[in-house]
């Protein structure tokens, strides 16, 4: 179930990418949306340019340069990139700003009672306090930090393991059966069961959650890479390489992987919010991070319980807003970057 909800999102995106990529690969030439252009825009006479005719075969094309240039042409993506960078930077800067409070420090009033559930803005608490008298502002940033850390780590492990396994799976035909079975088996083992067992053996903590999320996460990535590899492994240029005796390693690293840069970055960008989303779910079913480690998951979950009181709903809205913003940013940046990383879009 758990798996279904969150992996399905990721799988959808994977499949979407999958389809998109294969179509791109199949196409002889990229066809940006020119159909709406007028005849004049589509065709114009090229005047003779003597300087250009003198130019030799030199091209100053640089892949990454072109990618970055293409990316920065997308204003919306740049805007979200800015937001993301600021958010990220702020989670690190925030504890060092003057007047910030410790996210787990409990605040008391004069009579020794906790300053519980203060409304946003009251007594200098920007986002108010929770039921223990802890500063929600500080907790949200600390929680974002934790969640992003979980997201990044899981995404990195997924990328490294997933790419490695995916390439082997796709390129080495003898391993196909093994990996396919492995994938099917893991896909059908309930993630909840694994999480509970891991939490039982280790204690619930950030490394435990990361471990649990990584344990099965890489499989999706591996399958995705494998599908891409299969599409391109028997292309003529690879066939030629093999015939010329290029070592497998070199084929993989020089011929295959560079082809996949755009989709890999896209998937990584999506893996981060999906790991955070998974953490929220895991907290909801009661096996998430302990409360003394703030994370977006347990902040949202605590906020949910307060839904019944309109005055306290802010405790749900704030973490949800932060999580939504992060997800949207990654989604848009990932999409834009994948487009930009496709060399066909560099030709203008």
């Amino acid at each position: 179930m758990a798996k279904h909800i969150f992996q399905s999102h990721r799988d959808r995106v994977t499949n979407e990418l999958d389809q998109k990529l294969s179509q791109q690969l199949k196409k002889e030439l990229s066809t940006p949306d020119r159909s709406s252009m007028t005849e004049e825009e589509l065709f114009s006479f090229a005047p003779f340019n003597p300087d250009a005719s003198e130019r030799g075969g030199y091209s100053n094309y640089s892949y990454w340069g072109a990618t970055i240039r293409a990316f920065f042409k997308n204003k919306v993506a740049v805007f979200f990139l800015l937001i993301l960078v600021c958010t990220l930077a702020f989670t690190f800067i925030q504890p060092n700003l003057p007047g910030q409070r410790d996210p787990i420090l409990i605040h008391y009033n004069e009579s020794g009672r906790t300053l519980a559930n203060l409304a946003p803005g009251e007594q200098g608490f920007i986002f108010g306090t929770n039921n223990l008298g802890q500063d929600i502002w500080a907790r949200i940033w600390s929680g974002t930090r934790t969640s992003l850390f979980i997201g990044f780590t899981v995404a990195c492990v997924e990328a490294v393991l997933g790419i490695l396994m995916g390439v082997l799976w796709g390129y080495v035909r003898q391993l196909d059966f093994f990996f396919t079975e492995l994938y099917n088996v893991f896909d059908n083992i309930p993630q909840t069961l694994l999480l509970i067992l891991i939490a039982y053996v280790l204690n619930p903590s950030v490394p435990t959650i990361i471990f649990a999320l990584c344990l099965t996460g890489w499989l999706g990535m591996a399958r995705f890479i494998r599908n891409q590899i299969i599409i391109i492994r028997d292309r003529d240029y690879n066939l030629a390489s093999r015939c010329l005796g290029t070592p497998t390693r070199r084929i993989i690293f020089r011929n295959l992987l560079p082809y996949l840069v755009s989709v890999i970055t896209m998937r990584m960008a999506l893996a981060i919010p999906s790991a955070i989303g998974n953490e929220v779910f895991v907290t909801y079913i009661g096996i998430g991070l302990p409360l003394e480690i703030p994370s977006l998951g347990n902040l949202i979950n605590t906020g949910r319980e307060l839904m019944t009181i309109p005055a306290l709903r802010y405790q749900l809205y704030f973490p949800v807003a932060v999580l939504a913003l992060i997800t949207i940013s990654f989604y848009i940046i990932g999409n834009a970057f994948a487009d930009a990383a496709d060399p066909k879009n560099h030709v203008n």
């Binding site: 179930m1 979407e16 159909s35 059908n188 067992l197 949910r304």
Partner: protein, 323 residues
Amino acid sequence: MPKYILKRILRSLLTMAIVITVVFSLLRLMPIEGYFENYDKLSQTQIDLGLQQLGLKDPLYKQLWNFGKQLLSGDLGTSIRYRKGVSINTIVAEKAPISLQLGLISLTIALALGLPLGILMSRSTRTRWKIGDKLGTVFIVIIQAVPAAAYHILIQFAGSQGIIHFGDWALKLPMLFKVGDYRTYILPILSLAIGNIAYYAMWLRRYMVDEANKDYIKLARAKGVPGGQISRRHIFRNAMVPLIQYIPNSILFTLMGSLYVESLYSIPGMGGLLVAVIKRQDNTMVLALVVIYSVISILGLLFGDLLMALLDPRITLAKKEAR
């Protein structure tokens, strides 16, 4: 083709056997305390006895063998904790139809709204300001970004508390689901459908835009085929091919229900059943559900592939298999 199907089913059986063995072994690692209600007050004799009666002292292969035999006779077993002594077939037969019914209604709605939205969005990409496309994208992105843990409960409160109101009229639907009272179906179905609407719209738009850029469409346009006809007969139909593959899966997966929605609205369906039985360490039910879900996902993939092969003559299963 029948040969191919047979081969795939046989391979799936192998997968299932492995899955069951692995889950069996994992369940054996669960803390024994979880099998007892008052562990703290039991003597060692009682604990041993309890474990023996649960069959947990038998060797693994013996348990597996028994489970396999029972499974082949169509019996999923008897619950040991969740509803002690009740046949799992009964429990699933009670719960599955409810999830299925709600899921199918919401899926139908999602298709009925999501596909037109996708078409509108893709059409809108051809207009000057692409307003429709932009609005649609905003909707899709927001739905995907707000965590399910939050948006279901927000929908429930928004729909039942009269927060949405115009003058004297306020939207006050019942908070809890009740079988047979159709007013109570509205909110959970909306909750279930909204994610799928976004999902289908997003996909269809993507495929239609890609399709519209293909040369044959351009040719058709150049030849003066009317826009509506191109859209209906060529773009939409071809764009549906990759989508159709996931529809059997979506239909079958409605059986699993949704944990969030079913918890919030008191829907006695399958949602969250797996989580509940894992947490209660009802091993027989965990296994039964794993079997059910494996079958669902295997069948879903198979049907999807078959449908796609039927719809798109360019796709042959033999080739797919080679991949």
